[in-house]
């Protein structure tokens, strides 16, 4: 297999709060192939959006991002300079946010909001320096004869906006919600991206136009060969749009695999619970009522399975660090689950409940924890993987150790 477009390994994002350290994203790994639509599904607060913002390095100073690797198209996003990162943002990787009313600037014309992306990332030979942009904004206005403006009009047409020349001169409030989100899509296409990160792109929209907008995103990404990282709380959307999906819970990925595998053969108790209640969870507010219990506190998060308080199958191993199990017999793609029930020595009855936990299970788990640590250290991007870096990288599954290290992890 060729190198994935986006390769994220061991991404951990935390925030310093008054109450302690909040782990918003906890050691997640995923790969997005070229042209693929990869979904991250989870309830609000599970860390989906922070994942996207971490990859884009768009978190403010309060957030600390660490990872073994965040590699995009051969570039290590954690180590590139801020100015290189700026040329990637909006260019090779663009974003679509949830609410088009608030994510578009209310005092700038639609045309200029798209044209500025063309100017900064395209090859139109227009000046993009601070004073050139300021003059354009406050004195001269954007010239409608400029190539960036014309490209903006073209893009509006591409996303299906009628009368694009006229619309380009209008302001966001003059458009309907659906049209506004099309503008956001046009804006995301303007930098000619190879990856679009769409964060709940239809959540703020009317149900009647939700499908249209989703189709628009999918068709365009298909047409231009763009990969999509789709963040959503809606399993229905995932099923219709994604190739692969990761189920996120309490800042961790619980189960990752091809959509068909996840829907037809879920292995994680949380995924099972979600699927069992699909008809009821179209509305985000109902998420919490789906499965009894509450999400654990992410501040000073303990190790072990974060789902154990709500899990019907929880057993004695569940407060041990989670390790990844690959599901055998998966026809399509790798299907991985982080749940101790998958331990090959744990005996499970037909209903999925635990029958017995022999000593070998514990031994096997410890071997796996060991092995994952060693693998992490091997996969470390640090070119000088000396003994101490190896030891640092080797302690990944423990959040306590995470807080202490960071030597060979990018931090910003």
């Amino acid at each position: 297999m060729t190198e994935p477009l986006l390769d994220v390994r061991g991404l951990t994002t935390s925030f310093e709060t008054g109450q302690g350290r909040l782990t918003a994203v906890d050691d997640i790994s995923f790969q997005i192939e070229e042209g693929e639509v990869f979904g991250v599904v989870g309830e609000s607060g599970s860390g989906k959006s922070v994942t996207a913002l971490s990859v884009m390095r768009l978190l403010d100073d309060a957030g600390t991002v660490e990872a073994d690797e965040v590699r995009f198209n051969g570039t290590d996003l954690l180590s590139v300079s801020e100015s290189e990162m700026r040329s990637i943002r909006g260019g090779e990787i663009s974003m679509i946010f949830q609410d088009p009313m608030t994510s578009l600037n209310p005092v700038m014309t639609i045309g200029e909001q798209i044209a500025e992306v063309v100017r900064h990332h395209g090859d139109v030979g227009e000046r993009t320096g601070f004073w050139s942009e300021m003059r354009r904004k406050y004195v001269t206005g954007t010239s409608e004869g400029s190539r960036s403006w014309q490209r903006a009009v073209e893009l509006l047409e591409t996303v299906g906006i009628p009368e694009p020349e006229k619309r380009a001169t209008e302001f966001p409030h003059q458009l309907s919600g659906g049209m506004r989100q099309r503008v956001v899509i046009a804006q995301a296409l303007a930098g000619d991206p190879s990856l679009i990160i769409a964060d709940e792109p239809t959540t703020a929209l009317d149900v009647s136009i939700e499908a249209q907008i989703l189709n628009e995103i999918l068709e365009l990404s298909d047409e231009f060969g763009i990969s999509v990282l789709l963040i959503t709380h809606d399993l229905g959307v995932v099923r219709e749009t994604c190739d692969r999906v990761a189920v996120m819970y309490a800042s961790e990925f619980m189960e990752t695999g091809h959509v068909d595998d996840i829907f037809d053969d879920p292995h994680h108790p949380y995924t099972e619970g979600l699927l069992a209640s699909i008809p009821r969870i179209a509305d985000e507010r109902e998420w919490l009522s789906v499965i009894e219990g509450t999400v654990p506190d992410l501040i000073d998060k303990p190790s072990g399975c974060p789902f154990r308080d709500r899990c019907d199958y929880a057993f004695e191993l569940c407060d041990r660090p989670l390790v990844e199990y690959e599901i055998e017999g998966s026809a399509l793609e790798t299907h991985t689950v982080r749940c101790h029930r998958e331990n090959e020595h744990v005996k499970v009855d037909d209903s999925g409940h635990i029958e017995s936990v022999p000593d070998e299970a514990v031994a096997a788990l410890e071997r796996r924890i060991e092995a994952e640590s060693a693998h992490d250290a091997d996969g470390s991007v640090s070119p000088t993987a000396d003994a101490s870096a190896r030891a640092d990288g080797g302690s990944r599954p423990s959040p306590a150790a995470d807080a202490e290290n960071g030597g060979d992890h990018g931090e910003y």
């Binding site: 943002r89 663009s94 994510s103 578009l104 600037n105 209310p106 005092v107 904004k137």
Partner: protein, 319 residues
């Protein structure tokens, strides 16, 4: 609604505002104790002389007659005559309006030049040294009255910097330099409190804008932080500030009146205070009317500005 209709509507509206103001002033000055005729004639006069003068000045008429008479003359552009000197009110006002308006205008400019940048810096560097510093300065501006700042300026700058006068006013036709130097300190004194208010508004408005989704969008487009701040943020942050700047203009106008006394400048403020002391009713009314007019006019300008920078608003407000 077009610009023209809007302006027309605003003007009609302003006329009513000013009418209201003069009516209140008319009633107010007559309800304060003190009789202009008695003040003119001094302590010991006989009732007949007093009554004669009162009749001459029209003060013996019922109030409503006095009011409507004054209003009728006002409609023809006639502000009446000072009952003290007999000179036309309008002429007296025009004579002294120059310094006042100069000080008010320069004060506003000083306030804006200080407040907008420091407000932005304060918001961007929130809870850092720059923020604490500018917030402290703004706090002084807000809590110190203009005349007090004026006194401090006279004592500190006037004593040490000879080229800057601390007393009197030099008209602009005697040279821009001297004119500017003569209004610099008083303008600073009236601009500082106003600037403090504006700076606090700019700061909170910018802080709000910094959290907006479109600012995150702008960063996600790969724009530099300066472009995000000034191209995407500034105009949005100015919208609420502009409105409040118009309302708080009263701080400047109020400030000038007091500051003129400190700097010994013969302006509208001194004229007003002098006319109140002498119970010179027409002069008081005329001066207040002019100040109200300046205020109303400034607010029309502010409204136009507001409409210009906020495309969501059509003329006359509303969506």
């Amino acid at each position: 609604m077009g610009l023209r209709e809007y302006l027309l509507k605003r003007l009609v509206h302003s006329v009513f505002v000013m009418l209201f103001v003069v009516t209140v002033v008319f009633a107010a000055v007559r309800s304060i104790p003190g009789d202009p005729a008695r003040l003119m004639l001094g302590g010991d006069v006989d009732t007949a002389t007093l009554e004669a003068l009162r009749a001459e000045l029209g003060l013996n008429q019922p109030l409503y007659i006095q009011y409507f008479r004054w209003l009728r003359r006002l409609l023809t552009g006639d502000l009446g005559e000072s009952i003290r000197t007999g000179e036309p009110v309008l002429g007296s006002i025009v004579q002294v309006a120059g310094p006042t308006l100069s000080i008010a205008a320069l004060g506003m400019v000083i306030a804006l030049v200080i407040a907008i940048p420091t407000g932005i810096i304060s918001a961007v560097k929130r809870y850092e040294i720059e923020d604490y510093l500018s917030t402290t300065i703004a706090f002084f501006g807000i809590s110190m009255p203009a005349f007090w700042i004026g006194i401090v300026l006279v004592l500190v700058i006037g004593v040490n910097v000879e080229s800057i006068p601390t007393f009197g006013y030099t008209p602009i036709d005697e040279g821009i330099g001297p004119w500017f130097r003569s209004i610099l300190l008083p303008s600073f004194a009236v601009g500082f409190p106003y600037g403090g208010i504006l700076m606090r508004m700019m700061r909170s408005s910018m802080l709000e804008v910094l959290n907006e989704d479109y600012m995150r969008t702008a960063r996600a487009k790969g724009l530099s932080s300066n472009l995000v701040l000034f191209k995407h943020g500034l105009q949005n942050a100015l919208i609420p500030v502009v409105t409040l700047a118009g309302i708080f203009l009263a701080v400047v106008l109020g400030g000038v009146v007091a500051v003129e006394i400190v700097f010994g400048i013969r302006g509208l403020g001194r004229l007003l205070i002098g006319s109140i002391n002498r119970r010179d009713f027409p002069l008081i009314q005329g001066t207040v009317l002019l100040i109200a007019f300046v205020f109303v006019l400034a607010n029309i300008v502010v409204d136009l500005l507001y409409t210009m920078i906020n495309p969501r608003i059509k003329y006359g407000g509303g969506d």
